[in-house]
């Protein structure tokens, strides 16, 4: 695989098409689990596992699965991996399993997973699909963990479950509520997109300058 393609997939997953902050997909689990950073990281890892595995299998079977039954096939494959990750968590990470509760099972209907299967894995080779799943999963994990860190810090005065100061002295309980989840998520989307657009404009401007300059020189020579 070319380095450019790798960079493109990585940048898409982490920044350009970040599922949480750019595409606003997987909103329900984002709002529900970001009350604690540990839960969010666990959720992110579960989604990452499901994304990578389902993308690989769907990409492998892309020429076998008939078009008219592709969605049921994708759902069966995704549900299988969600059940496996759920069984694994119950066996080895019981407290995380309890904390994630119904949201773990709901990864089956997470738009990110089905979306990547439909738009990427079913049209691209295995290696690229695996990378897409990996970086999309990482993008989701980073976003939800960052949101959770802010909510946990302000709402519960703790960081990944470790109490940093006495919450009775300073904590804003609003951030642990559902409304707090919406507000934090909205602010993150706004900040991320402002930064993204600024950088994007700068890069485009730079690119335009680079492409325009030789034309001007050539035109000058022609005129002479």
């Amino acid at each position: 695989m070319k380095k450019e393609r790798f960079n493109q997939i990585a940048l898409d997953g982490l920044v350009r098409q970040n599922p949480t902050l750019r595409l606003v997909l997987g909103t329900c689990p984002t709002l529900a689990v970001t009350i604690s950073a540990i839960n969010s990281f666990g959720m992110g890892m579960a989604v990452l596992f499901v994304l990578v595995c389902s993308n690989v299998i769907i990409s492998l079977l892309r020429n076998v699965i008939p078009d008219r039954v592709r969605i049921p096939c994708f759902i069966v494959i995704i549900a299988t991996f969600v059940t496996i990750v759920s069984m694994f968590m119950e066996a080895f990470l019981p407290s995380l399993f309890e904390s994630l509760g119904v949201w773990l099972a709901l990864i089956v209907v997470n738009c990110i997973v089905l979306g990547r299967a439909e738009s990427f894995a079913s049209h691209n080779p295995v290696g690229e699909s695996a990378l897409d799943g990996l970086f999309m999963g990482l993008g989701f994990t980073l976003s939800v963990t960052l949101i959770a860190i802010v909510r946990e810090l302000l709402g519960s005065a703790s960081f990944f479950g470790m109490e940093l100061w006495d919450p009775s002295k300073f904590s804003i309980k609003f951030f642990t509520s559902n409304a707090g989840a919406f507000l934090t998520y909205g602010l993150f989307i706004a900040i991320f997109n402002v930064c993204y657009n600024a950088v994007d404009r700068k890069l485009k401007h730079k690119h335009a300058q680079q492409t325009l300059a030789p034309v001007t020189v050539a035109e000058t020579k022609e005129a002479e």
């Binding site: 008939p66 096939c73 494959i77 549900a79 299988t80 509760g101 109490e163």
Partner: protein
Amino acid sequence: MAKKEKTVAVETADTSVSAEKAMKKGTVIQAVKAVAVLVIICLVCGALLALCNDLLYVSDEVRADRALQKIYPNFKNDDSFAGLDSSKASTPYGQVLSVKKSTDGAYILEAVSSNIGFSNGTVSIFVAVSGGTDPKIVGWTVDKNVGQSFIGNITSKHQKTWFINQSITVVNPENPEGSGLGSGATHTENAIGYAINAASYYCINVLKLVSTPESEAKDAVIALLGAEADGYSFVAVKDADYLEACKVDEHELSFYFEGKKTESDPLAVYVYGEDENRQIVVVKDNLTHAERLEESAVVAKSEGINDSLVAKAQSRSYFEYQVQKSHAAFEFAGMGDINSEFATKDEYGTANKVYLSTDGAIMVEATGKGGFASGTVTVNVIIADSVIKGWTIVSNVDQSYIGNIKNEHMTSWYVGQSIGQPIELGSNKVTGTTLSSTAINNAVNMACYYARNTLQQGGAE
């Protein structure tokens, strides 16, 4: 020439028929292939899951052991302990599912809350209770839940702080919901509070880990009732005003218990005095005022009990007391019979009860439909001389914003209006609570409809 054209036409028709046949055949093959692929994928995934299930399955025993290790690592099972008394496992707060005793005297209980959680769901927990003279909650953890989407909000930090080191006699006795614990999942907190209280209730009343005046009184009641007490759960009603209202001369009412049992008559239990001076009267609690005054209403009473105490218990129903308390001007005289012909009106709802007063006024309890999420609101409407004298909300179903209806609304809306005509919603609504306001309006109209048709108040329709 014409013959040749005819031949060509026949050949073209043959070709199109065969093409159609081929296309149909192709479609069938494609459909079969699609189904076959889907079935194969399902079978392979099923086999994979079966394999994973064999490798990763967590049994109930393993889950219980994990919980034990988490909340009480020093647990060593006392084999001589008899375990759960299933006949007494049901408590007012939920059900106790299992009990284990440790050799050091501590108890581990598995309890499930009543349907008080989010979406009427439940939470099951394991609770560790220390032994000794002052048993305390030393640990708890969530086991399972039904429909609690935000169970993730209850973190290990909460499990290490909430209820910990509280005596089992004071675990939110007045407020088992435990609301305001601050996780952002209030209904789930309520369910956890109920489950903890179910375990505490069992420790006090069945395991007899502590003896309180209340538990002693309850034991005395159970001893008096004998076999009749089986299956009943007795909950103390801590209404100081009612206890005061039931006082007879120097005899103070120490405890008033409500005895409940599925599909059986509820009981009202009056315990006067303490220890050797304790006198108990048990009365059936679902009777009309007149029926309750009859001797047959008394289920049991202490030997040699003062007759005035029995008479007081018979005449002072807690339900009637509450009615009178909420409507100070309404001198309660007894219950009226409901006329089923006018007890329902499709557009309004139903009339449930009629209370009679000494001065001829009546109070109708009516349920109005059309509320938020198709829920209902039940109100009491006092009517005298064909005019609404007052009304109050009794209960509601699924009306999340009923709290927006304040006392000032109850004293201004409808009061003084004639019951002769249906009352329009008009200004009798709170913005943002329009559907609950509609249900209230329907309930009030139902009460008026019932009054004007059955009790000659305001003229019949």
